[in-house]
Amino acid sequence: MESVFNFFVVHREIIYFIILSVFVGIEVIGGVPTVLHTPLMSGANAIHGVVIVGAIYVMLHVNPDDYLALILGFLAVLLGTLNVVGGFVVTDRMLEMFKKK
């Protein structure tokens, strides 16, 4: 029990941060017309590509002699990049269609 309380105290700020972010996420989506659901989902998909930051971070601190970790890290950065670049570009292509001709 002690450790649970301790955890809360140590991570207090981040817990506030998480709760507020959840509400921001809900607020941001509220009242979006149906026609924009697909581009919005695709755009959100690109944004969670921010996980690539973690991949680069872990890669920068990996032990260069650990080849397996290097390979896994390389893959992580590659997949994260695909998520980010592909995600933003495909969303842009969708939204381009909505432009007034």
Partner: protein, 473 residues
Amino acid sequence: MKQSLLEIGYLIASVTFIVGLKMMGNAKTARKGNLIGAVGMTIAILGTIFLVEHSFNPLVLGLIFGAILLGTIVGWMTAKKVQMTKMPELVSMFNGMGGACAALISLIELKHHYHMMEDAARDGVSLPTQYGTMIAIFLGLIIGSISFSGSIIAYLKLNGTMNKPVRLPQYNIINLLVMLATFGFGAYLVFTGGSMIMAYGLFALALLYGILFTVPIGGADMPVVISLLNSFTGLAAAFGGFLYDNKAMLTGGILVGSAGTLLTLVMCKAMNRPLSNVIFGAFGGGAAATGSSDVKGSIKDIQVSDLAVLMNYSKKVVIVPGYGLAVAQAQHIIKELENLLEERGVEVKYAIHPVAGRMPGHMNVLLAESNVSYDKLVEMDEINPEFEQTDVVLIVGANDVVNPAAKTDPSSPIYGMPILEVDKAKNVIVNKRSMNAGYAGIDNLLFYDSKCSMFFGDAKKALTELVAEIKTM
């Protein structure tokens, strides 16, 4: 100095994610919103590469740049080249990549962790377990893996490689057990330490659960599943953010996690089905069988020349496009039909069901591609009262969204889903390739309606003939 710059960079990125996503909720600002998000992301990525303290190692940096370069080229080309009809499965694929990225990060962190534990044990020191960190690592691993394998299955289902729902006997119970086993094993590893081999075992188990979770769900429900898996990946990214105390990852991840969950619920609402229904399956084999009613009449078909006359002398025509139109690549010819009819003084509109196509809004994107004006696309609630004054409704490749069973037959699996009330129009023409059932796998009573005629043929071919016929008049 470097550290402060980095934090400022992450702050800017976080703000751009929020503002960008907000702007994407409005058709006018959407494209700019997406660009703003992309700029923020670039700042976060460049900041991480150049401002994070690390021991400079050319091999590592080379690998990072190589991976980014390769990923950018491949991602860019794929996204640019993909046909708009194939777009939902591409989104699913990119989502899976993000999930896999989160899972791999956790695996590397675990490798590092067990390595340190071994060293500590050799030196006879015991390290205190940091439960918060371990929980974040394991949850990132589990959720990322589920999102990865689930998205791959969704991809295969959408592109037709795997088009039948696969259901093990008692799949709900099996899935529940596998899920409990996955999280239970994860908890066990957090509290007992475990080993790298066990961590790989957990990875495999989570991948298996992702497959089992997605495989029984029918193709028609894939948009909901992709949206859900999308929010899972967001969550996995957020655990990464917690792990590294990285605010950009936290904001981006949680934003997508909560927004994605809400979007999933909104989509379910558009289909009038609770989420639990999608996941645990109301479209079961049993339900689909009872869905087909015994009352069947005869169906009529209409020849292209008769249809041309009918449409030419109509006042108002409403086109109901469905995924069949997209598959046949008929969106350009339908635009030509619209132009032709308007030249002759016929009013033409498009009725867009919230779940037309494979994703909400998918049909709008497809029609926009062939220059159909945005204000001709009318949403369901607005067009439904107009059907009574409509002379001809032309349904192209849509089926379940116009099935009256959704209103009249409580035993139907789609009962309760709001539909386009096309049966109120004076004439209903259905273009289909054959009498096969729609995506939900159920019969459509509309086809036996006395006002309804079938116009058989591939959408593109049939509409081309129709356009040619009208031109001769």
